[in-house]
Subunit: 358 residues, 2 copies
C-alpha cells in the first residue's frame, strides 16, 4: 500500500465519523402543515406564519414548516383526516369541526357559557385539559395543542332588536355547531351559510341574524352596514384553535426540535389571543366612529336564562354518551366553578369598578 | 517521514477543520441570572425555572441559564445595577423597583386603574409598549422584556370595614410604590414593612391593613386568620414582572439563540399569568372553605372616585417631568381607552351575564 492510499483511507474514515456525528445533530426536517383557512386569513393566518417563522429561526433552519392554505389542499374540513393519514404532518384548525367524526373533540374549542380564554388556558395547562385532549386524539395517531384564541366571540348581528324570547321564535340565524343547537332549543332556526354569501343573505332577509366572530373579522364582512344591533357573546367565550401533529412525525423528531415545536405552538397561540384583543379594539373603535347606527345590546335576562338552561340540558345529554365525554364535561364544570369564583373577585370586580368611575 | 507521522498529521488537520466548523455552530454559553426573589419563591420562581429549562432544551444545551436567587447575590433590589454593570448577564425582577433611579421605569409594571394583563400585553406587543420600554432601558445598556404577570392584585386585607372616605383617614397600611402615593392623597398613612414582619404587624395593630398580591401568595402569609375584609383590586391590575438582559451579552449570541432566549422569556411570562389564575383560584377556594370569616368587599364608590381622581393628578405630575414620561403616559391612556371599550362589550359583558344566570 502506498502512503497516498493509506492517507486517503484514514482521512476518509475520520471525516466520515465527524460528518455522521454532525449529520445526526444537523438532520433537517420539513413539516407540511394544512390549515383550514384561506391564504392570508387575518389573525388565524398570522398565527401559523408566526409559528413557522419561530420554528425556523429557533432551529437555525433545521426544522421548517411549509404551510398549505385551503386554496391549495382544497379540503378545509379534511385537516383531521389528512393529518391522521400522514398526508400532512401537521394541521391548524379548530377541534369542534370534528365533532361529527369524534364527538368528544367538541369540548376543546369553547363551550357556551364556559370558560374565558385565561380560565381555559389554566384548565389546559394546569388542570386536566391537555391530558383529556390527548386521550381523545391518541386513537387517531395525533397530538393536539392549543392553537390560538379569538377571545370572547360576539353574539351576532341582528336586524331587529330582541326584546324577549318571543322575538326569537322562528328567527333565521346563521349560527353553526353546539351554539346553534342551543339556539334551536329556544326557538331559533339555525342555518349555516358560506361566509361569502352571508352579507347578501342578511341584506335580502334570507336570514334575520348572523353570528361570525368579533369586531376585527366581522368588520370586513360589512354587517354593520345593514344591521343595527350587535349582541354581546355567550356561546363561544374562548374559541381556541388547534394545532394537530401526526404522532409518528412527532416521534421521529429529536427532543430539542420537539421542544422548539411545542414552544412555538404555545407562544403563537397565546399571541393570537393578544393580537385578537388588539385588532378587535381597533375595529370596534372604527365601527363606533363610522357606523353610529350600531348599538351594543345584551340579550334580555329571560333569553339568557333560557339559553343557559338549554345548554345545561344538551351538555347533560352529551356527557351521557360515553365515559370520556362524561369526564370532560365534569372536569370543565368543576374547573369553571372554581376559577370563575376567583375571576369574579378579580377581573370582573375590577372592570365593573372602572366602569363606574369617571 | 514515516507513514505513521504523515497519517497523524493529515488526520489531525481534517479533524481540526471539522471541529472548528462544529465549534462555531456549537459554541456554548452560560448566562447568569439574578432574580429579586428568594429561592423557590412560588409562581415567580416557577417562571424563571421554566424559562431556564426551555432555553436549555431548545438549544440542546448550547445555552444555559444559571439562576441566583436573592439569598445568593444578597441584593434583591440591586438587579438593575448588577445587570447594567455586567456582574450578571440577566435579571428577573419588576420594572417599578427602579423608579427611584430612573423614574420612567415605573410605567412598565402596572398602573393604578390601568390596563388588565391581556390589554397590557396587547399594548406591549402590538401597541407602543415594547418600543417605549427599550427607549427607557437603552441608556443603561439593557434590554427589558415582559417577565410574567400576577393578574389583578387584590386591594388588601383590612381588619375593619371601610364604609366611606372617613374610615381611611390616618389608617396605617402597608402599601408601597405609586399606589401608596395615591392612598396617601386620600388620607391613608402608607408604610412599607418587610414581608416576614407583616403578619405580626397586622396582628398587633402596628398597621390596620396590608396589601400583598392575591389569594395564592396571601394565603401563605396567613392574613385571613386575623383580618375579615378582603378588598377587590384597583391599584395593580396587571403586575408584569421583567426580564433584563445586558445588551453586550445579547449581542454576542448567535441569532438562533437570541430567538430561543426571546421566545422562552415570552412564553414563560404568559405562562405565569395562566399559572397565577390557576393558583389564585385554588387558594381562594381554600380560603372560602377554611375561613368563613373572610368577606369580599369593594371599596365604596366615593372612595374609588377619590382614588381615581388622586391617581389622575399624580399621573399628570409624572407625565410633566420629561418628554419620554409624557409620551408613555399618553400612549397608555389612549391605548387603555380604546382597548377597554372593547373589553367592556366582550369580557365584562360576558362575566356579568354569567353572574346573573343560575
Amino acid at each position: 500500500m502506498k502512503i497516498r492510499s493509506v492517507l486517503s483511507a484514514a482521512v476518509l474514515a475520520v471525516a466520515t465519523t465527524f460528518a455522521a456525528t454532525q449529520a445526526l445533530a444537523q438532520e433537517k426536517f420539513t413539516l407540511r402543515l394544512a390549515e383550514t383557512w384561506g391564504p392570508n386569513f387575518p389573525i388565524f393566518g398570522d398565527t401559523t406564519k408566526e409559528f413557522a417563522k419561530l420554528v425556523e429561526e429557533m432551529s437555525d433552519g433545521r426544522l421548517r414548516i411549509r404551510i398549505d392554505s385551503a386554496n391549495k389542499h382544497k379540503s378545509p374540513f379534511g385537516v383531521f383526516d389528512m393529518v391522521k393519514a400522514g398526508q400532512y404532518d401537521m394541521g391548524h384548525s379548530a377541534s369542534y369541526y370534528w365533532k361529527g367524526k369524534v364527538p368528544e373533540t367538541l369540548f376543546f374549542t369553547s363551550m357556551p357559557f364556559g370558560m374565558t380564554a385565561l380560565e381555559q388556558y389554566a384548565w389546559f395547562y394546569y388542570g386536566d385539559g391537555m391530558d383529556l385532549m390527548q386521550e381523545v386524539y391518541a386513537p387517531h395517531n395525533m397530538i393536539s395543542f392549543p392553537g390560538g384564541n379569538t377571545g370572547i366571540q360576539m353574539g351576532g348581528w341582528f336586524r331587529k332588536e330582541i326584546k324577549s324570547l318571543d322575538d326569537l321564535q322562528g328567527l333565521k340565524m346563521r349560527i353553526p355547531g353546539f351554539a346553534g343547537e342551543v339556539f334551536a332549543e329556544v326557538g331559533v332556526s339555525p342555518t349555516n351559510i358560506p361566509p361569502g354569501e352571508l352579507y347578501t343573505a342578511l341584506e335580502r332577509n334570507t336570514i334575520d341574524a348572523v353570528e361570525w366572530v368579533g369586531p376585527a373579522l366581522d368588520l370586513r364582512l360589512g354587517f354593520q352596514q345593514i344591521a343595527d344591533y350587535y349582541y354581546t357573546g355567550w356561546h363561544e367565550p374562548a374559541t381556541e384553535l388547534q394545532f394537530l401533529v401526526n404522532k409518528k412525525v412527532w416521534e421521529k423528531l429529536p427532543s430539542d426540535l420537539q421542544t422548539i415545536l411545542k414552544t412555538a405552538m404555545r407562544v403563537s397561540a397565546y399571541d393570537m389571543l393578544v393580537l385578537s384583543q388588539h385588532e378587535n379594539a381597533e375595529a370596534w373603535a372604527n365601527i363606533k366612529k363610522d357606523y353610529p347606527n350600531v348599538q351594543i345590546k345584551n340579550f334580555p335576562s329571560d333569553v339568557f336564562q333560557a339559553m343557559y338552561d338549554a345548554n345545561k340540558k344538551l351538555l347533560k345529554e352529551a356527557a351521557g354518551k360515553n365515559d370520556v365525554a362524561k369526564r370532560i364535561v365534569e372536569s370543565q364544570e368543576s374547573y369553571l366553578e372554581k376559577t370563575r369564583a376567583y375571576t369574579d373577585i378579580s377581573e370582573r370586580a375590577y372592570l365593573n369598578t372602572m366602569a363606574e368611575v369617571e
